[in-house]
Symmetry: C2
DNA sequence: GATCCGAGGGAAACCGATTTCCGGAAAACG
DNA sequence: CGTTTTCCGGAAATCGGTTTCCCTCGGATC
């Protein structure tokens, strides 16, 4: 035991963890601290974890780490975790419930202190039940759970203003004179889809226009297909609002393939701003989400819960903003080529 | 002890870890396995780690997880780790040596089994010394270290063919009739820079042309500045080869700002293929690196070392390929507008 | 002066698995 | 039949901290 170096044995632990009630003589404490720095002593985290049931690690569960959306969340979370001497696991689940459950089980076994779910939970009943069980086991040993997107479970949540953001974009397009605005929504199992769709519908109805919602699934091929079907339907829209970045990539391919020129033939808005939007042609108008901040907030929240001092409301909504670029233009300049 | 459920005590450990030499009666072993599955027994990883000095975790150290290049490596590594029941730490170091050292120290304290360095080491002496010490400490407890890019240290390495890829792109441009090809290189502290530059220079000299190398630093603003300086220099080049994806993003901004049209005014090639290149205008010709495969190979190598059965050569070079898109065109169609 | 109380420190239990060490029983051998 | 292996299982040590339990000592109280 490295600590024998100075004098005491278990007293060292008390000196180094002043959180507990047992008093330690300041002089003794000083000696201990000197010894630790002299010996460059560092506690064995696994030994500590064996007693305390958890390790100073957090985890972020995302669908796909190569998706710029999730990567930014992970960066924010990992940075904040690092600042608090926590390490960060990253779990890329590919939207596979089985993989996700397996991840969470491994996390539990490894004594993770907090799990951040960066994507909406699936509405699947079996998944929900199994996940609830895992999460309860984690909470049993003192771990905390935070959602970074709306989920069905009643977890503490850090989320961006999906409804407000969708309203913002819709109103922007309306203000440009568009009133036939199509919307590609997300998968129905995910709350985010409904929230964004609701914002869009709300803004449309408030302006006295009929919403035109096309089903989508938040994936790139899904966005491609949804765009194709919309164009084929000849529904006669002059603006297209796509409810996430990944689908927008697919839409861009499809529009390029069909030689639909943006914004001349069609104004295009996206929920979710990723760096790539600054390099596409045209550069895309998008709803900017402070993803890194959400990641940071998630870790802060998780750590606060760990210390039993979280006073935030259960759901905290982070504001979003409209980033206007070149893909949205006034209706007069938009040929109704698709009517 | 959950295992008391059937009969034995420490025998269970032997039954569950047949790797060791102590024999176990097959019948007993069967009873133990039945009990474990009945009780849904799962070993406490921290207790196990306390003895074995390490946890079934790996870590990937990258400069920036939001960079598509690194994200793809991490995805490959995390998937492969998951398949082997290992969890994956991700460390986004922002190219800060202090952050990186701190990460590695935390990893060591947490008993990480393997560390994968996804970026070239800095040539800084103090950094090198400190890192060497950390890594030796990790190896002392049986952890392994793998480099996923050329580094100065003599670690097992999985790397893409930097020199060959640079030759490939250069030869592609030469074949199109270009001979005044500029090259934006990377920071001199990084081996990758030198390797790619060497490939470019080799191909140019082999063709009897003078290389034109502009300094860069692998960052986006760096790419912007390097491009600007090249254009200002009126060096009269008709093609530009940028040695990594991030700088290419900066270059795109600069070219767009100056209304240099690609490939009409300038052919553009990039080392490093990222999804965004399919959505830019024009779509960029790039050297494709199998980054996910490199991540997978890194984990495989690390696990093999852990089990003392790594028979690979120290440095394994992964092939790259040329993805031809719209940003490179024959010289005849390229106005020497920049001459 | 006896009792009580709190400060402060040490010994030992504990977390849960792995790994010696050891011993009994069966098998192999002379 | 005695002796030496071999097989197999249990008791106990170990990993390195944290926490409980207990003890001592000095000061305060009655």
């Amino acid at each position: 035991m490295a600590r024998l170096a100075d004098v005491s044995a278990s007293t060292a632990s008390r000196a180094l963890n002043p959180a507990h009630s047992h008093p330690v003589n300041p002089a003794t404490r000083k000696r201990v601290l000197e010894a630790t720095s002299k010996l460059n002593y560092q506690p064995n985290l696994m030994a500590r974890g064996l007693r305390s049931r958890r390790l100073p690690t957090i985890s972020v569960i995302v669908h796909d780490i190569t998706d710029a959306y999730f990567a930014e969340i992970v960066r924010g979370a990992a940075d904040e975790a690092n600042r608090n001497s926590f390490l960060t696991f990253v779990c890329s689940s590919r939207r596979d419930p089985a993989v996700e459950l397996r991840y969470v089980e491994m996390l539990r076994l490894s004594g993770v202190s907090a799990v951040l779910f960066a994507a909406g939970g699936l509405l699947d009943r079996a998944y929900q039940r199994a996940m609830k069980k895992q999460v309860e086991a984690i909470q049993e040993y003192g771990g905390s759970v935070v959602a970074l997107a709306p989920r069905v479970e009643r977890w503490p949540t850090e989320v961006c203003d999906n409804r407000g953001g969708a309203q913002l974009m819709t109103e922007h397009l309306l203000r440009l004179g568009h009133h036939r605005i199509a919307f590609i929504t997300g998968p129905p199992q995910v709350r985010t889809s409904h929230e964004r769709e609701a914002g869009y519908v709300l803004a449309m109805k408030a302006a006295g226009h009929d919403p035109l919602v096309a089903p989508g699934d938040f994936t790139e091929p899904g966005g491609e297909q949804a765009t194709a079907r919309l164009l084929d339907s000849r529904a006669g829209f002059t603006a297209l609002f796509i409810s996430n970045d990944t689908m927008a990539l697919g839409a861009l391919s499809e529009l390029r393939k069909r030689k639909v020129e943006v914004p001349r033939d069609l104004s295009l808005g996206v929920f979710g701003d990723i760096p790539a939007w600054g390099y596409t042609t045209p550069r895309l108008t998008a709803i900017r989400i402070g993803l890194a901040e959400i990641g940071v907030a998630g870790v802060r929240r998780a750590l606060a819960i760990l210390q039993g001092q979280d006073s935030s409301p259960r759901v905290r909504v982070h504001p979003v903003s409209l980033v206007e670029r070149d893909s949205t233009a006034p209706l007069r300049r938009t040929a109704a080529a698709l009517a």
